[in-house]
């Protein structure tokens, strides 16, 4: 079956020196336990998990340190036993070196594990169950991108073709090579889990032809396990290990520009991921360590090691005896796509497949960037069939529209263009920058759109509230009018009032109009007072709260707070009572005046008036009290400020 697989081709590509023999001659070593491990909370693409531990906790090997939170995310696990000594920002294993939240564990050297429980009869479990176990084991794509494996598996439906990527096309890196040679059976067992989880119809294990031992080992393992899978040997060319390039090599089909392989029924997993899945399902071990290539001529003992996730890079370089030069570069990843790090205390994370320490002569520093001469070599080698020189010009000019038109987002940043550039232009750096700028612009645009919507919604709400208020006032005014008219009619019907009005003044009608106007004004005041009382009360309480907070801030006795509260309430009650009393007293005076003006009024009207006046006075008192309190609070705060300063 293996010979039946047709190998197609993809455009472009380069053949840089492979330099793989440096590290792939010796068996994978295990390193001594480091003193401390730094486990970043987020080691994959996507949301970070929620912390499960606190500083001071003792943890065992394999214990989950985080769990998927509200927004998903993958857990991270303690790679060895020890004590959590710190959860804080630590330099990240990222080209930027921007600190990220990291759990620091001081290892006790005992390497004690939790009890690992394997999944029973894994091949009879439903795909969902298997994916759940894979998620809980914290497995992310170990090929380099660290995309959560469970997410990738659950997003894919109707998988026709499962591709296991053992191409490892980048120079120097031999992690997958060594893994396939040493653990082919485990990888194959992981493949069976993947097949079962995906119900894949066909499986291809792709390996570059510069790894004959790995090809041999994988073929044997597949044969002895007698599973439905074939080994495809692809010619050595960089970057045939890229997801889209490998799909093109194996199927002749191109992944569409805006699409994903899953749209074509294809799913790709790295051999390291398959191994991790085997460990998680058959042994119950979460992802705690990975194979890392230590290579470069500056290392005396290059090779591959099993490194605990979180091991500082310095510890690994120590074990490989680094002979550092004055301008020693330490590169994470390979020479084509890797990045230099500025701090050797950065930890190994799930995506760290290689640490490269080249000598000056081995990988000279890039020379001075010269002008583009439009030779077109970059276009010849671009595996995504883009126009790198055009992208370069547009990136330099920050012409984002033109960059989008030239499909910058399809650039896989493989570095083939920069590799062949005779002017030594760091093309990929320009593209990365431009991509970041475009992404940032998009985020800003989205934020602006949300802000605009929220602003407009708020404006609409304010307008609505204003209309409602006006409507309410209008209705209240109408009601008042109606009430007044009714009262006037009642007064007219009452002969005693008519007669007193006549005796009191020559112009009785005018007088009654004045009285009506006064009554209207009073009614309005009272209505306002009523609506305002509730609010005023609230305001007064807020003012009180301010005073309380300030008093607290001024470092007065803590126990006094409750008492103050009580006191304030008592004071408030007293003030209210006083206000009421005063209102009663005051209401008597205008009553006298009114008696002069219109000597007789019905008991009913009198009582209502009284009530209204009382309410108005109470409102005024409350307002005054509030003002006083505010003043008090201001003086308190001033005092507090001066004390603090």
């Amino acid at each position: 079956m293996a010979s039946a697989i047709k190998i197609w081709s993809f455009p472009g590509g380069v053949h840089p020196p492979e330099r793989k023999t440096l590290a792939n001659q010796t068996a994978t070593a295990t390193t001594e336990l480091p003193e401390k491990v730094y486990v970043p909370v987020k080691q994959h693409i996507g949301a970070e998990g929620q912390l499960l531990v606190q500083p001071g906790d003792t943890v065992l090997r394999g214990q989950a340190l985080t769990q998927p939170g509200m927004s998903g995310g993958l857990p991270v696990h303690a790679p060895s036993s020890g004590t959590v000594i710190n959860i804080a920002e630590h330099t990240s294993n990222h080209p930027s070196g921007i600190p990220t939240l990291t759990i620091t564990i001081k290892l006790d050297g005992k390497h004690e594990s939790i009890e690992f429980t394997a999944v029973e009869n894994p091949l009879e479990q439903s795909p969902q169950e298997l994916i759940k176990y894979i998620r809980e084991a914290g497995i992310a794509g170990l090929g380099g991108a660290a995309y959560p494996t469970a997410q990738k598996l659950s997003q894919t439906q109707n998988t026709e073709l499962l591709i296991i990527n053992g191409v490892e096309c980048e120079p120097y890196i031999v992690s997958d090579d060594r893994l396939m040679r040493e653990h082919a059976e485990e990888i194959v067992s992981g493949i069976t889990i993947l097949q079962s989880a995906l119900q894949a119809q066909q499986t291809i294990v792709a390996i570059e032809d510069n790894k004959p031992e790995a090809i041999q080992a994988m073929r044997q393992a597949i044969e002895s396990a007698s599973i439905e899978a074939a080994v495809a040997v692809v010619p050595t060319k960089y970057p045939s290990g890229g997801e889209k390039q490998l799909i093109q090599l194996l199927t002749g089909k191109e992944v569409p520009s805006n699409g994903y392989p899953s749209d074509m029924g294809i799913l790709m997993q790295n051999v390291g991921t398959a191994y991790a899945i085997h460990e998680a399902i058959y042994l119950g071990k979460p992802l705690m360590e990975r194979i890392v290539t230590l290579t470069g001529e500056a290392l005396q003992k290059p090779g591959t090691v099993w490194a605990l996730l979180g091991t500082p890079v310095s510890h690994l370089l120590d074990s490989a005896s680094l002979q550092a030069s004055s301008k020693q570069k330490v590169i994470i990843g390979g020479p084509m796509m890797g990045y230099t790090i500025s701090d050797l205390e950065v930890p190994v994370v799930k995506s760290t497949n290689c640490i490269l320490c080249p000598t000056e002569s081995e990988l000279p520093a890039t020379g001075h960037e010269m002008a583009c001469i439009r030779c077109g070599q970059c276009e010849q080698v671009c595996p995504a069939s883009l126009l790198p020189q055009q992208l370069y010009w547009y990136a330099k000019a920050s012409d984002h529209d033109a960059l989008k038109q030239h499909h910058l987002k399809d650039c896989i940043e493989c570095g083939a263009c920069a590799y062949v550039c005779p002017s030594e232009i760091p093309l990929v750096h320009y593209y990365r920058k431009a991509k970041a700028e475009i992404r940032e612009e998009l985020i800003e645009q989205q934020k602006a759109d949300i802000a605009r919507q929220r602003f407009e919604a708020r404006q609409a709400r304010l307008e609505r509230e204003k209309q409602a208020r006006l409507e309410k006032h209008k209705k209240a005014a109408e009601a008042r009018q109606a009430a007044l008219a009714a009262r006037a009619a009642a007064a007219e019907a009452d002969p005693t009032e008519q007669s007193t009005a006549d005796t009191a003044a020559n112009n009785g009608e005018k007088q009654s109009k004045v009285a009506a106007a006064i009554a209207r004004a009073k009614a309005k005041n009272a209505a306002q007072a009523e609506s305002a009382t509730a609010e005023d009360d609230k305001k007064a309480r807020v003012a009180e709260a301010v005073a309380r907070a300030k008093a607290k801030k001024a470092a007065q006795a803590e126990s006094a707070t409750a008492e103050d509260d009580k006191k304030a309430r008592v004071a408030e009650a007293v003030a209210r009572a006083k206000a009421k009393k005063a209102a009663q007293a005051e209401s008597a005076t205008p009553e006298d005046d009114k008696a002069k003006q219109s000597s007789q009024q019905s008991d009913n009207a009198e009582a209502e008036k009284k009530r209204r006046v009382a309410a108005a006075v109470a409102r005024a008192k409350a307002k005054k009290a509030e003002q006083q309190k505010q003043q008090n609070s201001v003086t308190t705060s001033e005092r507090g400020d001066s004390e603090s300063s």
Binding site: V330, L344, H429, K447, I450, F455, A545
Partner: protein, 195 residues
């Protein structure tokens, strides 16, 4: 006769076109000024009012009516550039009378000091502050535009404007801004040698 025919034909044509245009004017009437929408698209929507208008849309309307395009500090030079392209006006440097370009910030309420007065909630142009009377308030950081408008109304000054830290995912590949550059700086090599 031929003169009359000509006049007649031209009048008919004029009438037909008049009807068509009249119909189109009613049928395809554009509500509002599309230019205002386009300008509003470009503005950063912080709603901060630093331009002197109560929000981005009012400023967009003002620009459409001929106001200067360099009054938006949150948008900065990039926004001026885009507005210049759209309106055809000359791209002037930012008018410093309205403020200077600053890093992106987000409001943060020191919650133990908040007294629950709701003043900041009323000031927030995008309703990004949660809280109720006498209850602690907090800023929804994702919705906050960093406009600064909530800081002044706070009676107890418990609101800080905090610069948004750069996250690795949103890093712009500014290699120069990395504190230690391995290629040139001796610090890294010292560290390496010290191993």
């Amino acid at each position: 006769m031929s003169l009359l025919t000509g006049v007649f034909v031209v009048s008919i044509i004029a009438l037909v076109f008049g009807l068509v245009l009249g119909f189109a004017a009613v049928r395809f009437k554009v509500e509002g000024d599309p230019l205002v929408d386009q300008i509003d698209e470009i503005l950063p929507q912080t709603q901060c009012g630093q331009c002197g208008y109560p929000g981005c849309r009012p400023y967009a309307e003002a620009i459409a009516n001929g106001d200067e395009i360099n009054k938006c500090p949150p948008g900065g030079e990039a926004t001026i550039q885009k507005l210049s392209e759209l309106t055809g006006k000359e791209a002037k440097p930012l008018d410093e009378a309205h403020g200077v370009e600053d890093v992106k910030k987000v409001a943060y309420i020191r919650e133990d000091e908040c007294i629950g007065c709701t003043k900041c909630i009323q000031a927030c142009p995008v309703d990004a502050i949660m809280g109720a009377n006498k209850q602690m308030h907090t800023v929804i950081a994702d919705e906050c535009t960093g406009c600064d408008l909530c800081v002044d109304p706070c009676p107890v000054d418990c609101i800080d404007m905090i610069p948004i830290p750069t996250k690795a995912e949103r890093w712009k590949w500014d290699l120069e801004s990395i504190p230690v550059n391995v290629d040139t700086a001796p610090a890294a090599s010292r560290q390496v040698e010290g191993v």
